[in-house]
Symmetry: C2
Subunit: 530 residues, 2 copies
């Protein structure tokens, strides 16, 4: 399939300027053909107008059509074939197996959202029946359920070019809810974005969905994204990326005359606590699991364990020696793009110069800058080091982590209290450890969206109960997740119908409950008809 | 019961400054004893610190304790007796019957939240069971449910001194979720706030809940509220009041280093559409119902119908004549406080001078400024008048509304498209009208949180399915309601437990499901144990 490098607006190819950029192959430094054109303000407006027009049609479609559309997207992703995976690999430096795993994940979550909307309980349909005889006032008939917001802006992540980009859960949950999507393509993988977009259009055509439900705008800087978030007809935005980028767009969204929700997932430091019993009994296993989690995907995960905490002891020293040995055996690998590579290199340099940190170990081979390679790094410090320089708790995106030795449980609690919000917190412990550290665990629950026991935070399970979110700065709104079926909640709002004629109600609120969805009827959950 | 005029911080009375103010009786202009002291920065900090400390204890309490606490508050509200209603009446000018109705509503919603948390399905507990044999990676055990955020700041409304103030659904939904509350008392009814606070403390004492779950801070200006929203340990805020006040605090909340959700309900213009069939068949009934809704509570409702739209016709002229006659028969009544009275007077004056508006009619008697009386006003204009001056669609808080005559269905649709977000939209029509105006109704669904058929927006039914919210500027986040049991969703976030030991899980996620709550188990809703 040819890549045109142009905007895809409601299925139409356009390019209104000669200003263009190319993606680089990070492993070779070679520019990849073709050039991609910067979206203009007129093209941004055109995409949003098409989305608004499509919204009127799309939100009125039967839920089965929306579900079929999603299933068709899942089919069409496979139709893209090896060419798609090869382009992704060339744009990211990821091996084909990783690209294929991401494709599986995208297909999986797309079908999950199709099934979710067919089942229908996510709508939270509620009915309170009337009572005309009630005193002093008759009780009206009141019903409500979730309805879609309108056109949604999506910003994909560089580190998941398939599973958190054009084909990510942001796009699919918006489609599932009934919202059109205008996505700002990621400049590090624009070709992957374009091919993915073509799968969406093929699915739309097959299922009779208007092409305006989707547009792809390309751009290398911040201008296109900022203009998109400022467009008056955009009703919400979802973002995965850096804290700096997420916060800047969050501020733009809130400063609009009509503010809109801006759901940003901005990564985090993902602390991993090793309690004394686990440190004594399983140090080799934890060392192996931790270094594997740290260096998987070259450390380029939002859930990368950036700090590890344990009590200073012989066991801790043994653990430190083990992880040092393991990290030194790791081969350097190519990072996603020059920007990430540069930030990682400079972050490592400043950590090496920080007197509150010592280098514990790093990959033994010399990384090749021309291939954007990164060495894995482990630092060590004490709790006092963190007190001296709290920026040591900031995330550094890449295969780098810091071991923090604490003076005991009280110190660990004090450190836990000082933590910022994280996507995940991991605890390694025995049953006795947990019983001995209830206060610590209680505090950690207030700091994160996901608690992991005797495991590792990377390799997120995509399911109904997953929560990939957490207190700021992990996200901009801790109620919402960007992964898992709860992600659909970001793009809907309740609409209430009072004394509304049955035939005009949304089907899930009608007396007969023709779709048999679970509803709250006078306060009780039931699938019964009224 | 004596009113001290001091801050109530975790049950302790404090006053750290001599700076004080008194409430006025709006019907007489008399200052009411005693003086209320301005909260200082130290007192604000003290209240939030007490809330944070209480949070650790309160969120660990069994849900039954939280429910009993709420039921005890409902009991203690009644114990306050007539003295409470008399104080409220003196501070607001409301007749005792209105005060008593508000008390009933507060008792009702407080018990609703108690029952909601006993039932438990609101927690949205979810379990995805593990599969250690899955390839290529074993599937972990993943579970999640809603957990409380932390200390919540609440700002009550002047127009509901009992039902949307200290004893409002903001406070009760926060308590139900497991969050402590620090409330900024409303300066127009500080005595009502203090008496209400004492009911909360009595209930806390009876049920073994730490007094730190609640504090009341008094203040006449913006300083106390702004400092409260800026406090780093406040995790969310709920507000009911004006657009200017709500937006200012929303901006403060978003500009914090760690932004917090600021849920503001800021009122709206609540359009009322009369379709041709209804105009022909029920003009006298609609005229009577509309003027009653407009002037109930002296028009001081967020859901007051501020514009009425119909097609220019003989029927419309007949309807206009009927409402003119009815509004001229309304007696002027006292407004809530001098600020609201002044804003209403000045709003009416500027509307009278606006060349795009004509006065259709107003209360026949002269209002008495000394009693802060307001005359009810009806204006009329055409759709072109709205095009000329879109500010005619801005809310004017008080018994004032504008009749807008349209040139036909197309004009009505164009006007509907130009509407800002509203808490409610009302449609009067026959079944045929609805069938003939599907496009209009479709657009109106995107403009509001609640659609009412052949009724009136005031007199909100407080129940599970109600939604008192809507697109900006009705609220700052259209997903959330400030009335009804869904209000609890504002103060919680999902927390996910991966491979967590059963005995340490929140009780609602444990295998045995001892509370029998409805859960999502591998994607299916069930009360079954695992």
């Amino acid at each position: 399939m040819e890549i045109s490098g142009r905007q895809l607006i409601a299925g139409r190819e356009t390019s209104a300027t000669s200003d263009s950029f190319k993606a680089d192959n990070p492993a070779t430094g070679d520019a990849l053909e073709p050039a991609f054109y910067e979206a203009t303000v007129e093209e941004i407006n055109e995409a949003v107008e098409a989305a608004l027009e499509a919204f009127e049609i799309y939100r009125s479609k039967r839920v089965e059509t929306r579900a079929d559309f999603l299933d068709a997207i899942a089919d069409e992703i496979l139709v893209l074939g090896d060419e798609f995976l090869e382009r992704t690999s060339a744009e990211t430096g990821y091996p084909l197996a990783r690209c294929s795993a991401e494709r599986d994940r995208a297909i999986n979550h797309t079908r999950q959202f199709a099934n979710l909307i067919r089942e229908g309980s996510w709508l939270d349909a509620r009915i309170d029946l009337p009572d005309p005889t009630r005193k002093p006032f008759p009780k009206p008939d009141v019903r409500s359920l979730m309805q879609p917001l309108g056109p949604v802006a999506v910003f994909g992540a560089s580190n998941f070019p398939i599973a958190i980009s054009v084909l990510g859960a942001d796009t699919m949950s918006a489609f599932a809810s009934g919202c059109p999507v205008v996505i700002k393509g990621h400049p590090a993988h624009p070709g992957t974005c374009e091919l993915a977009a073509r799968a969406i259009y093929a699915a739309a055509e097959r299922t009779g969905v208007p092409a305006g439900v989707f547009s792809l705008l390309q751009g290398r800087g911040h201008e296109v994204g900022t203009a998109l978030v400022q467009h008056p007809d955009i009703t919400a935005a979802a973002f995965t990326g850096s804290l700096a980028g997420g916060r800047a767009l969050f501020d733009v969204a809130n400063q609009r005359p009509v503010p809109i929700p801006f759901y940003a997932e901005m990564g985090s430091v993902n602390p991993l606590f090793i309690l004394p019993g686990a440190l004594k009994s399983r140090a080799p296993q934890i060392a192996e699991g931790f270094v594997a989690a740290l260096t998987q995907g070259n450390g380029q995960f939002c859930t990368n364990p950036g700090i590890v905490l344990g009590n200073e002891s012989e066991d801790w020293q043994r653990f430190s020696a083990l992880v040092k040995e393991k990290v030194e055996a790791v081969a350097p690998a190519t990072m996603l793009h020059a920007g990430i590579h540069k930030a990682y290199r400079s972050g490592i340099e400043s950590r090496c110069e920080n007197e509150d940190l010592q280098v514990l170990g790093h990959s033994s081979e010399n990384p090749d800058d021309a291939k954007l390679e990164a060495a894995a790094y482990l630092f060590e410090t004490t709790q006092q080091g963190i007190v001296n320089d709290p920026t040591l708790l900031d995330e550094l995106f890449g295969p780098c982590s810091t071991l923090v030795s604490c003076g005991g449980s009280e110190d660990m609690i004090a450190l836990a209290k000082s933590l910022e919000g994280s996507l995940s917190v991991t605890i390694h412990g025995t049953e006795k450890d947990l019983a001995d550290h209830r206060d610590l665990i209680s505090i950690l629950q207030t700091k994160t969206g996901r608690l992991i026991f005797n495991g590792y935070p990377v390799g997120l399970e995509v399911c109904h109960s997953i929560h990939h979110g957490g207190p700021y700065p992990a996200t901009t709104h801790s109620h919402y997740t960007s992964v898992g079926t709860r992600a659909i909640e970001r793009f809907v709002r309740p609409v209430c119908y009072q004394d509304w004629p049955d035939t005009l109600l949304p089907i899930e609120l009608q007396n007969a409950n023709p779709r048999g969805v679970l509803r709250m009827l006078n306060g009780h959950r039931t699938r019964d008809a009224v």
